[in-house]
Symmetry: C2
Subunit: 723 residues, 2 copies
């Protein structure tokens, strides 16, 4: 945060004199001057070029502002989305290039909307708990206002006053009222939907200098204490107990932990971050006395950084909870958030992020960032290992991220001991995913959903999201007696969280995270220690995975490892059968057993090949433990699931026990040169040397070397024993 | 071949005076002068740098020339391979840099081999029909000699004469005799193995100026007419009827068709091409009067071009017959072949290839090619659509390649109506694969093999290669009565080929290839017309696939389409069951039926998603035709197969019939922006309007447009009817 106070000071001194100036909402008059007076750095020039090609194409077509009719994916829905994006770019281009055609495009389109809006009732589709006007849900209407208020601000001085008055009277004010006072169940929640609503109302209020709207955005509508505990379309409660505030400040108080973690996870955070950051930028420009970027110890920039840190080597978000895989920091909302966060802090982490994104905003933040990227075009930024607490006070579990290396070679462990994650949460306490570069060594399945793809249930969550993706067996998490955590019941799980025990990443060669969970299964305590271990004997860091389980009673314990690779070798005998469905509920109804073996020695190994690289898991086991080679895909009548293979270690009739594994990344093979590099694991065995209620000592061996480790159950520490 | 005569003339005039000069085998004295006197173009500089880093690392280690012991993948095998590659680079670096350390490295290593060789009997592994000395098979020994003769030539003048005499007496001459006179079953075949043998003996002969060895290489050993029809390790005959010659000229006479097609397919051609080209280059330098590059109308450069043309948009070979997927023009052997072919012809196709390869040889050819690439760094070369005849006289079937677009957007259809392809052939007459950029829209499965991967049967062909990969059902080819072509019997198929009927690519908007096959199934004639059709209504070209079948008797016809994608939508109802193994032989023992439907209208559609793009097949059908959604992977005890899905259209109790499909590439979806672009096919229906014994008229319709096509069974032509 080196430049934080400097930049903030600069912004303050500029803005005091320019509250009512246009543009002044996001892009400022001073910003325009800077941009016009300097050579454009390559990244900025590229972004201008892209915007021009988009808007010029739109200008060459006839403007269409269709009567609302379709759901997401349909014509009217997508057209209104395209329209607001084109207006946003056109407004910025008008300021940057000074060409009137861009302002004229925005003006003409706004007049069309001004004509259409008063004729509209609610959207004909009756699918949302808060139906919109242009769109099927208020959420999209709020999106429209957030973008369009920026476009309006950019061309404000171009539009004749009489037309502005008409627009404000027939379009902007009634639209702001619609998404707020007329839809309190949308506007007054503590939820990402409401953040969009708050930002929409606040931003158009700032452009029109309407203090009442701005206050409504900041502090919400009066709360209706008698509102029922209704649920929204995602199954979350609309109003939650104990959250006694509304409006933008309430969102900031409740949505993030003090570390900037967003309880639904990064997939939803990248979407929610945009209204937080653009409204904050607008407030910073127009209401600098609020010191919005400093609120809660600089929470907003911290949250953007936390978001960037929840990515793998290529910037894809860890797909915890309901998340469509592949979503990354290259999403438009994250580009916006990173640019604004950089403007607020000057933190170099955001320069690295922008470098990966390859795109910047068309404003003073984007310009400054592009200049930085030009100075350091190829920097390999080492993201830190971090523990991000969950819950508004940081007391409801955490997400632990262990990482090593930088750039495309980064290795990441995303260890989840958070709260439930509201309606989008999965039942996967103490689960993790493990990445080697962009390769998922052990995957989190993510959501069963094709966002916006009409063929797949209209782009909504698929039935298999509930029956498979959310279930415990779909994760690298312990299943007890064939049931998901909390019995897979949201109402029970919603306020539960795991307990962080130990997190120490001060030694880059042995980074350790430990957490425990005692509520997911009644009468079963589990504690898992993950360690990212680096040793010169191995090309890449290894993952040590130690899980301790204690119970008074006997149970069946099943620990899945979702490798999703091509099996190369295995240390144990197994019998292959025709695929057999493994169960009827808790996700097992979607799993085929393809083979089963039983251990005849206290160890097993399985090697697989994936993305041209080799991996091996080496685990301890008890004689008689079963190893199941399984595959996703049973009872999938619409072919909605990916039929990925995984392996399950099963212990029957066991009370207290320990699962111990080490996962090794050990080689590569290219079909072009056909030369395998180290296709076999170096690790030959793993062995528990001594174990009691407090400690475990174990040995990892290659052909020529041995290492002794000790893990402490009380402290959660894991350390190497010098020999 | 613009520069052909110019370059040839230059080479001639240089070489006449330099037959006995060193270096003069591949890299020439004149070449060294050119390289030393000019600025290195970037590609050449990069290749020099890579070679230096490899050899400098080797020089810093102790030289190891181990006693032969291991199979492929094992230490001694891989070490001897590494040694000859290091010597090759070191020799070239000595010439280019003038640094003695490189020559000294080669000299020292050669002395080690000279010491070791006389002590060697045959290699201890008894796995080959022609066991080697340093390696388990003579083939690798020949590799060693081909590379090492170049290294020896490069440092010839550096090594004291007495040491040279020793090397030639104890190592090179006896080694040349070993791979020829002592192993006639290896040396005297018409086969890629023997080409390596011929090149090895000829090249070391040229360096030593040993005419007897050179003649042996060119014309072979006297033929043993009584040799039995023994088979080699791949199941091919060692001696074949009617091939009455041996030696390098015989290879050129028999190995290629006049179009430069190699009957085993491009995967094996890319390997075989190296000894052809390096020996030819050596002959062109040392025996220019042979005019080797002009032999058979310039066959060798033509074959290299044919090889380049048998690739998809990213340079990967069409994996017909036994081929490990992913093998591409980036393989070292193809870099060598392309460089030499460019030197012989100056053809710009090779410049485009070198640009993709990103690497050149360290000689005058590589230098000239790198200069060309520097001049045109980003050219998008449009590979032509071609029909490559098969058989030494070009009369034994052909491979038809239809393509459109250039660079990474290239679309390719590889249509196979060749001969069997010897021991590596698959039973897949009239099959094809279809590519959209690097995406396999409809795949050829390729081989079931992990080359050099010890875990998978020591890197040899897996049992499933025979039981699955070679079978007809594993291809986009017609299966009659559940049996593979020729009953899956190699001895029957070996000399059979399909009949090319029509090939016309003069209209870039409708390129057509037709072939027929009447022998694969007794009493069943099949003729297939494939057309790559471009129309402004569609973003990308479409594939039209028309198959006519005639028989006197009723049969079950099954036509598989190997999409290997995620199913998105389907026009027909189906019933999903637990996976059911589809048969017991001819590949069906490896297939699960996942769902089955029966047509209740004369058309069906299936859409899938793959590599972030959407595809749909629209096909005609008869009421009652069955559509099976199938998956590879049954009876696969070692998890050797990729469990890819495909679809089968089945017609029961049918004699004459027609299969007609159109495959549409129609959209894209990125999980980053989550905006689907045209996720549904534009094509709504396909309909046969009229059909008789000679002709078929069919209609393809979108919502707003229609096209009529006419196909002629006699001529094989397919044309659009103007409306």
């Amino acid at each position: 945060m080196r430049n934080f106070s400097y930049i903030l000071g600069l912004v303050l001194c500029i803005c005091v004199t320019t509250f009512a100036q246009h543009p002044g909402l996001i892009l400022t008059k001073t910003g325009v001057m800077q941009i016009k007076s300097s050579q454009h750095p390559p990244l900025f020039a590229k972004s201008v070029k892209n915007a021009k090609s988009l808007v010029d194409a739109a200008i060459s077509q006839e403007i269409d502002v269709p009567v609302p009719k379709d759901m997401a994916g349909g014509y009217s829905h997508e057209k209104h989305k395209t329209n607001y994006k084109e207006m946003l770019y056109a407004g910025a281009l008008y300021q940057i290039t000074g060409e009137d055609k861009y302002a004229e495009f925005v003006r003409t389109m706004l007049l069309e909307y001004t004509r259409l809006f008063p004729t509209l009732g609610k959207h004909p589709a009756e699918k949302s708990y808060s139906r919109g006007k242009l769109f099927w849900q208020c959420l999209n209407d709020a999106n429209w206002l957030v973008y369009t208020s920026q476009a309006y601000d950019a061309v404000y001085d171009y539009i004749p006053e009489a037309e502005r008055d008409l627009m404000e009277q027939d379009l902007f004010r009634p639209y702001a009222d619609f998404v707020s006072t007329e839809n309190p169940q949308f506007f007054n929640r503590v939820h990402n939907h409401s953040t969009w609503g708050n930002a929409a109302v606040g931003m158009i209020g700032l452009v029109m200098n309407d203090k009442e709207l701005v206050n409504r955005a900041l502090y919400g509508l009066p709360l209706d204490k008698n509102a029922a505990l209704a649920k929204d379309n995602d199954g979350g409660f609309i109003y939650e107990a104990g959250k006694a505030k509304a409006g933008f400040f309430a969102q900031m108080d409740y949505a993030f932990s003090p570390d900037g973690y967003y309880t639904e996870g990064p997939y939803y955070q990248r979407y929610a971050m945009l209204p937080f950051m653009v409204f904050a930028q607008a407030l910073n420009n127009k209401r600098p006395n609020l010191k919005i970027f400093e609120y809660r110890n600089g929470l907003l920039p911290k949250a953007v950084k936390a978001l960037f840190y929840q990515t793998n080597a290529v910037g894809e978000f860890f797909p915890i909870n309901d998340a469509q895989k592949g979503m990354s920091i290259n999403a438009g909302s994250v580009i916006t958030a990173i640019n604004i966060a950089y403007g607020a802090t000057g933190d170099q982490a955001f320069v690295a992020a922008a470098s990966m994104q390859g795109e910047v905003l068309l404003d003073q933040n984007g310009f400054a960032l592009a200049q930085e990227v030009e100075k350091n075009p190829n920097q390999k930024f080492k993201k830190e290992s971090v523990e991000l607490t969950d819950g508004k006070d940081g007391t409801e579990g955490a997400l632990g991220i262990l990482r090593s290396g930088a750039g495309a070679d980064e290795m990441n462990v995303c260890y989840k001991y958070t709260g439930q994650g509201l309606g989008h949460g999965h039942f996967d306490k103490l689960s993790y995913s493990f990445y080697d570069g962009s390769t998922e060594v052990l995957q989190d399945y993510g959501a069963a959903r094709w966002v916006n793809i009409d063929q797949k249930a209209g782009g909504r969550y698929l039935p298999e999201n509930k029956t498979w993706s959310k279930q415990t067996i779909a994760h690298n998490a312990l299943v007890v007696d064939g049931k998901s955590h909390f019995g897979g019941k949201y109402d029970i799980a919603v306020d539960k969280y795991s307990t962080p025990v130990y997190f120490n990443v001060s030694n880059p060669n042995l980074q350790v995270a430990t957490a425990k969970e005692s509520i997911a299964y009644e009468g079963v305590d589990m504690q898992r220690t993950l360690a990212l271990w680096k040793d010169e004997e191995f090309e890449k860091p290894l993952l040590i995975d130690l899980m301790w389980i204690a119970s008074d009673k006997n149970h069946t314990y099943e620990l899945p490892f979702h490798h999703a690779g091509q099996i190369m070798d295995h240390s144990f005998e197994f019998e292959v059968n025709n695929p057999k469905v493994m169960g009827t509920a808790h996700g097992y109804q979607h799993v085929y057993q393809e083979a089963i073996g039983s251990l005849d020695k206290p160890m097993w190994q399985l090697g697989w090949y994936k993305d041209r690289k080799f991996y091996t898991i080496t685990s301890t086991g008890n004689i008689g433990d079963e190893i199941v080679l399984a595959r996703i895909g049973a009872n999938d009548p619409n072919f909605n699931l990916r039929k990925d293979p995984f392996v399950i270690q099963r212990k029957k009739e066991t009370s207290n026990t320990t699962f111990l594994s080490v996962v090794e990344s050990h080689g590569a093979y290219s079909p072009v040169n056909e030369i395998p590099i180290q296709p076999y694991a170096k690790i030959q065995s793993i062995e528990i040397v001594e174990e009691n209620n407090n400690e475990i000592t174990f040995k990892i061996s290659t052909k020529t070397k041995q290492w002794l480790f000790k893990a402490n159950k009380q402290t959660g520490n894991l350390s190497k024993i010098k020999q």
